[in-house]
């Protein structure tokens, strides 16, 4: 087991390193502002005194690396400083919205992942038939469409014209769970459509890549049926690419929701980020970016570890 533990530890260490570098990038990018935060926020009309007072208030006069370590150690405990616009702690603003975003992402993932893998296997089995070609066209179209296009089409057909689901996903505290699911169905469905297509194509490709392997022919020569060949002989060797693409899409669900949240006016972290960007509320922008980047890195890390663990050669060394 020496090899595999070492590989995983190495990957973990590398993930942490990346996260650290990314946090540095996020923090110091703001330092690159022409002028500084105070001047940018207060604008050109502000007098020198007010700018100076603002600098003191947010502690801008201390060296950048001191502020960086304060920010980072605060971030680890969920304290991201104070909003420049509302003076409220950033952590509070984010907490609730983050859970909303996580809910939406989980909702979509629970539907998308099993459906995508199942359909991917099915299409691999039906390869070169007309179904395969139609699916190819449909998934290509789905991948290449912008999220807001899919979202608006869903709104027109499933909400405005038929009234099946509400077009806007505003939440309130005292909703029952089924009502919550109905309210958030359209944003979740948009995400499902966009991610399923990608995962499906990759599952199909991962399986078809392996069909040329001699051991697959060997299995066929043993009289194993087509379906069993795929499930028993191809799938165990296809997990690594499938896990990678699933993780990639999970990461996408959590980060790429920004557009979907804006379309459906969903109170998630993506909306918060977009608002903060247009208001130039930097502590919120930095906090959101760090959370998104951390999620992204962690999911990629999980994918790599999963891929290592699914490799029989690594799992059972000589």
């Amino acid at each position: 087991m020496g090899d595999i533990t070492f590989l995983i530890l190495k990957r973990l260490g590398f993930g942490l390193m990346t996260l650290l570098i990314v946090s540095i990038v996020i923090f110091f990018a703001v330092e690159l502002l022409p002028g500084d935060i105070a001047e940018t926020v207060l604008g050109q009309a502000a007098t020198a005194e007010t700018v100076e007072a603002f600098r003191n208030k947010i502690g801008l006069n201390r060296p950048a690396f001191v502020r960086y370590f304060e920010w980072l150690s605060g971030a680890v405990t969920g304290d991201f400083g104070v909003s420049l616009v509302t003076d409220n702690p950033v952590g509070n603003a984010i907490a609730e919205r983050l859970s909303n975003t996580l809910f939406l992402a989980t909702y979509a993932a629970v539907i998308a992942v099993p459906v995508a893998i199942f359909l991917g296997i099915l299409v691999a089995l039906l390869r070169n038939t007309i179904f395969d070609r139609l699916t190819n066209i449909a998934t290509l179209a789905s991948i290449s469409s912008p999220e807001f296009f899919v979202a608006y089409i869903l709104i027109i057909y499933l909400s405005v014209k038929t009234g099946f689901f509400p077009p806007i996903a505003n939440l309130s505290g005292n909703m029952s769970f089924p009502e919550l699911l109905t309210r958030t169905f359209l944003p979740a469905l948009t995400l499902v459509l966009v991610t399923t297509a990608h995962m499906m194509r990759m599952t199909r490709a991962a399986i078809i890549n392996l069909l040329a392997e001699p051991y697959i022919e060997m299995a066929r020569m043993k009289g194993v049926s087509r379906w069993k060949v795929i499930v028993r002989h191809t799938l165990p060797n296809a997990w690594a690419p499938i896990i990678t693409v699933v993780a990639l899409n999970m990461a996408y669900l959590i980060t790429g929701v920004v557009l979907v949240e804006v379309v459906f006016v969903y109170p998630g972290i993506g909306q918060l980020l977009v608002d903060a960007v247009s208001k130039r509320d930097f502590p919120i922008v930095q906090a959101c970016c760090l959370i998104f980047a951390a999620t992204f890195i962690l999911l990629n890390l999980a994918a790599d570890v999963g891929a290592i663990l699914s490799n029989p050669r690594l799992r059972n060394p000589k």
Binding site: V22, R127, S144, P146, F149, Y152, C289
Partner: protein, 353 residues
């Protein structure tokens, strides 16, 4: 409308008969499913679904017809050694090429094609489509058609510039890393890892919040975000070639890195690199469209497809499809490029699945 329905059912029945005669079981299933489904929908009083399907069928038939005609025409305009490629071109790829060609021409000749100026207010806001304003007007009363035409120049041109930059930086660094290896490969690889470990839209938002939304910044950001992708691909296909013995032979001959890249590696990597160019363009285009949709891309009054969706979004709740026009222009172009890329990848993979 009744004629449409009649033609629709007649066509379905004809296709069903044809697929039975030709013993195509898979096709038969599909036509049967469509025919029975449509009849059931009519019986259960869901005619509007059937009408939607008829419209979709019309659009599909028109696209296929256009693609078919385009393929027929194209074979007379290509050099002799490409005729075989054109004849065997799948309809999806032909359709993709056609759309790309039309978009490019529209972008280049926008001022001559558009009947009105891009920021010119010519009628009342949200005017419906008529003979003069082919697609109606937007929230300020500007001609929608003219803005779509100008958008082909602005949105596509911007994305194209960013793509070229990303591609140039990524591909040259990637091929260099493949040939040189060592510290250059290590450093460039780590840098790519770091950039790629921040989600693209988030990275763009961070930078734009700091530097503002000028065209220059947008191009640089998009190029910075997607050049690591090109780098990884160029490095991977470059390495696949570098391990070949003909490279070893050339190295032992004493050839320099530049010769290796130019004469030995590039000819073997052009196909995947061109396919990647198409994909990266799609990503860049979608990213910039997304930014514009959020109000952080090209600033008004410049006509831009992403911003146009945002500006007219309110109409959606009235069931008006105006915001879908620029959105579908975006989708149509990216889908078309993906169709062409898919065909190229399939052709060069040499896999007979």
């Amino acid at each position: 409308m009744t004629i449409d329905v009649f033609v629709y059912f007649a066509a379905l029945a004809l296709m069903l008969v044809l697929s039975v005669v030709k013993e195509r079981r898979d096709l038969k299933t599909i036509w049967l499913f469509l025919l029975v489904g449509s009849i059931l929908l009519l019986i259960f009083d869901k005619a509007y679904v059937v009408f939607t399907m008829i419209t979709a069928a019309k659009v599909l038939a028109a696209s296929m017809g256009a693609a078919f005609l385009f393929r027929l025409t194209l074979r007379h305009f290509v050099p002799a050694d490409l005729v075989k490629e054109v004849v065997t071109l799948p309809l999806t790829a032909a359709f993709g090429l056609l759309v790309i060609l039309i978009t490019a021409l529209t972008g280049i000749f926008a001022p001559w094609i558009a009947p009105f100026g891009e920021a010119e207010i010519v009628t009342s806001s949200f005017a419906p489509a008529d003979q003069i304003h082919l697609l109606g007007s937007d929230q300020l009363g500007r001609d929608m058609f003219s803005r779509i035409v100008y958008g082909a120049r602005n949105s596509v041109g911007l994305a194209f510039a960013a793509t070229c930059l990303a591609f140039f930086v990524g591909a040259s660094a990637g091929l260099m890393a493949a040939v040189k290896g060592g510290w250059f490969d290590q450093i460039a690889g780590r840098l790519a890892d770091v950039i790629m470990s921040v989600p693209s839209l988030i990275f763009a938002l961070l930078i734009l919040s700091i530097f503002g939304t000028s065209i220059f910044v947008i191009i640089l950001v998009a190029a910075a975000i997607y050049s690591p992708r090109v780098f990884r691909l160029a490095r991977a296909v470059g390495r696949n070639t570098v391990v070949m013995e003909f490279i070893e032979a050339a190295r032992l001959r004493g050839e320099g890195d530049w010769y290796l890249i130019r004469r030995e590696i590039l000819p073997n990597t052009t196909a995947p690199l061109i396919a990647e160019l198409g994909l990266v363009f799609c990503y860049v285009f979608l990213l910039i469209a997304g930014l514009s949709f959020l109000g952080l891309g090209l600033q008004p009054p410049t006509a831009d497809w992403g911003s146009m969706v945002r500006e007219n979004a309110a109409l959606i709740s009235f069931g008006d499809v105006t915001p879908l026009i620029p959105a579908s222009a975006i989708a149509l172009l990216t889908i078309s490029i993906n169709f062409v890329v898919d065909w190229m990848l399939h052709r060069t993979s040499g896999l007979k699945e």
